[in-house]
Every structure is written in C-alpha cells, then in structure tokens.
C-alpha cells in the first residue's frame, strides 16, 4: 500500500530530475558541436585556398569555448546539472571505444603500461608525501593530493575522501589543484610531444600515465592524434583500475591511526571502488575481438564514442572555473604543480626508455 502511494511521487521525482538535465545537456551539445564546426570550417577554408595550416582538433575548440563561457558569463544554475553529466559521457565513450581495441592489443599494451604505472604510482606517491611535509600541508590533504596525482584525478579524490574521512575543504583544494593542472597539461603536453617528435604510441602512453583526470588525459591524447588518443585512454584505464587498491591502502592507514572508520570486508571495499566502466570497455573489446561486430558496425561504435567524447570535452571547459582556482590559495597548488612536473618528467623518461628498449 505504501509502495502504491509512493510510486507516483518517485516517478515524478525521476521525471523532474531528468528534465533538470536537459538544459545543460543541450549546452554541452551546442559547445561540443561548435568546436566540431569550427574545426571543419577552418579545414575547409584552408583547403579551398591552399593554405597550410595545422589542424586544430575540435577537442581544443570545445574546451576553449567552454572555458570562455564559464569564466565570463558563467554557467547559470539551470545548466549546471546537465553540464555535470560530462563524466557520464566520458565513461560511456570509453566503453564504446573498446570496440576499437582487439583484446590482444589491450593485453600487450596493458602489460607494459602496468609495469610503468606501478613504477610511476610508487614514485609519485612518495614524492607527493615528501612535498606535502615540506610545504606543511594537512596530512589528509597531502593524502588526497597524492591519490589524485598518482592514480586518477577527481574520481580518485572522490573515492578516497569518504574512505579516509577527509574534510570537504581538503577535497575541494585537491580537486581544484588537479583540475587546474589538468587544464594546463592540455596545452603543454602536445607541444612537448611534438617538440620531442614522440610517436603516437609513446605520446599516448605518456599522456595516459602523467595526466591525472581521465577527461583531460583523453583530451590531451586526442589533441596529438587519433592513435595517441586511443593509447592514452588505454594507459589511463589501466591506471584507473588500480584505484581500489590505493584507496584501500590509505583507508587502512588512516583507520589504523584512529582517524577514519575501519574497513570491514576488504573484497567488498575493493569492488565498491573499482571503476566498473573498465569492465564494460573490456567486454566490448572482447566482443570486437571475437568478430561480434561487422566493420561498418565497428565504425558506428567508434563514431558513437566520438560523440560521447564531444560532450565530455565541452564539459571539461564548462566546469573549469579559473576564479575558484585562484581562490584556493597557492600552497596546495604549488605542491600539486611541483608534483605534476615531477610525474610528467618521470613518466616521460619511463616512456622514452620503454620506447627505446622495449619497442612500444
């Protein structure tokens, strides 16, 4: 009886929540499509007039348009819920991108990536803790920054925050620093990659290992080339898969010090933190490997993934508030920035070495 009474109210609530997403979704589509339109218009114009001009991908246009809107007129409240869905589109896009990887490729690159990821994570966690102590940051803020910069940015911080009972303020600091540095890496990584003449594979691996947030890592890879974008997603996905173990480690550390709630069932904890979209990615990749899809169908799936990423990149720009980042103060940002430069150089060295000796 109670269910009968509550059902229409719940349904109405669901409808209103879905309706609240529509304006922001339309904004994501408009910004993303504007980026695509600008890229195509410039390409058509320069081709028609035989002008040599580097192709600037829609990724960059979408992010820049989003950044300009967010930091000039701002995002009115009505759009915010829909714009926040950009992570959802990122994850759906990554799952669909699995159709472009045969499982053999995933396992081959995964092996090398896993080794590089393990080395990079260990060294970057250690370095971030040293930096946190040197700059006298709060220990939990240091933990969040270390998790965010070594594993996978915002998702890792959001996963770690309740696990170690960190403050909202600390999480906001860490997220702001990671997002700011991610935005900077979008512009610097392709420049460095081109100046070092990195191959698509080496660059993609570097972007996937060094850029923290999945959306920015995907964008940084795609800005270099389509092939580099694929490798960046794969390397980043490998990194993301380790999130549960690192968060579990921190949760056990803080609970042993009596500053976080105890972890009961460790397997359940790991499963709750494991990014499920990695499994979806592997499933689609397995289906593609088994010949479940025809070639035109694979092309359709790849294009669907591009459309999902289009919304993601628009969201990355729209969600980056330069004003908020300035407000956060310089110390967490300094620790994050020094750590990021260290991790970027370290992973660049690792990728260079792996490319030379293991022939990526």
């Amino acid at each position: 009886m109670a269910t009968d009474v509550l059902a229409p109210a719940r349904q109405e609530n669901l409808h209103s929540r879905i309706a609240a997403l529509v304006p922001g979704l339309l904004l994501l589509i408009a910004v993303g499509y504007a980026g695509k339109f600008i890229e195509q218009s410039i390409a058509a114009y320069t081709k028609a007039r035989h002008i040599t001009f580097p192709n600037i991908e829609y990724v960059l246009w979408a992010i820049v348009i989003g950044l300009v809107i967010a930091n000039t007129i701002g995002i009115p409240r009505i759009f915010q819920a829909g714009v926040a869905t950009y992570e959802f589109w990122l994850k759906a896009g990554i799952v669909l991108l699995g159709s472009r990887f045969l499982l053999g490729d995933v396992l081959h690159l995964g092996g090398i990536s896993l080794l590089l990821v393990a080395i990079a994570i260990t060294l970057s966690l250690t370095f971030m803790h040293i930096m946190g102590c040197a700059f006298r940051l709060k220990p939990k803020l240091t933990s969040l920054l270390a998790v965010g910069s070594s594993i996978c940015g915002v998702s890792a911080i959001i996963a770690a925050k309740p696990a170690i009972d960190a403050d909202d303020e600390d999480a906001s600091y860490a997220i702001a620093a990671i997002l700011a540095l991610g935005a900077i890496s979008l512009f610097t990584f392709p420049l460095i990659g081109h100046s070092l003449h990195l191959s698509d594979k080496a660059y993609g691996l570097w972007a996937g290992l060094a850029v923290d947030n999945t959306a920015e890592a995907t964008a940084a890879g795609a800005l270099y080339s389509d092939a580099a974008g694929k490798v960046a997603v794969l390397a980043k996905t490998t990194r993301n898969a380790l999130i549960g173990f690192i968060v579990l480690g921190y949760a056990l550390y803080w609970s042993s010090r009596g500053e976080a709630h105890a972890v009961g069932n460790k397997a359940a904890f790991l499963w709750s933190k494991f990014p499920k979209f990695v499994l979806g990615f592997l499933l689609i990749s397995l289906l593609a490997t088994l010949g479940f899809f025809t070639k035109p169908q694979l092309a359709s799936l790849a294009n669907l993934s591009r459309w999902a990423f289009l919304l993601t990149f628009a969201g990355v720009g729209l969600r980056t508030s330069l004003r908020e980042l300035v407000k956060q103060g310089w110390r967490p940002f300094a620790v994050g920035a020094i750590g990021e430069v260290f991790i970027a150089l370290l992973t660049l060295g690792l990728v260079y070495g792996a490319d030379r000796y293991l022939h990526l």
Binding site: E87, F88, W89, K91, A92, G93, V95, L96, S99, S155, I158, A159, K161, P162, A163, D165, D168, H261, S272, K273, P275, K276, F277, L279, G280, L283, I284, L287, F292, F293, P296, Q297, A299, S300, L301, N303, L304, R306, W307
Partner: protein, 39 residues
C-alpha cells in the same frame, strides 16, 4: 558520515549507468536497429 556512505554509491551508479547505456547502444548497432552513425 552521510557523505561517506552516499558518495561511493553515486559513483557506482554513474559507472553502471554509463556501461548500461554503452552496451545497449552496442547491441542496437549489432542488431542494425540504429542507422549507421556518422562523424
């Protein structure tokens, strides 16, 4: 503590919904129920 319990659940459902949407689209494409998607 409210945050501690609600945040992971939100993250979980986002992942699961994203995977569900992607798999649904993949099967619609496989069964030719979606027209070819252009870029």
């Amino acid at each position: 503590m409210t945050n501690a319990t609600s945040r992971p659940r939100l993250a979980l459902s986002l992942d699961v919904y994203a995977v569900a949407l992607a798999l649904t689209l993949a099967f619609l494409v496989r069964l030719n129920l979606l027209p070819p998607v252009k870029w």
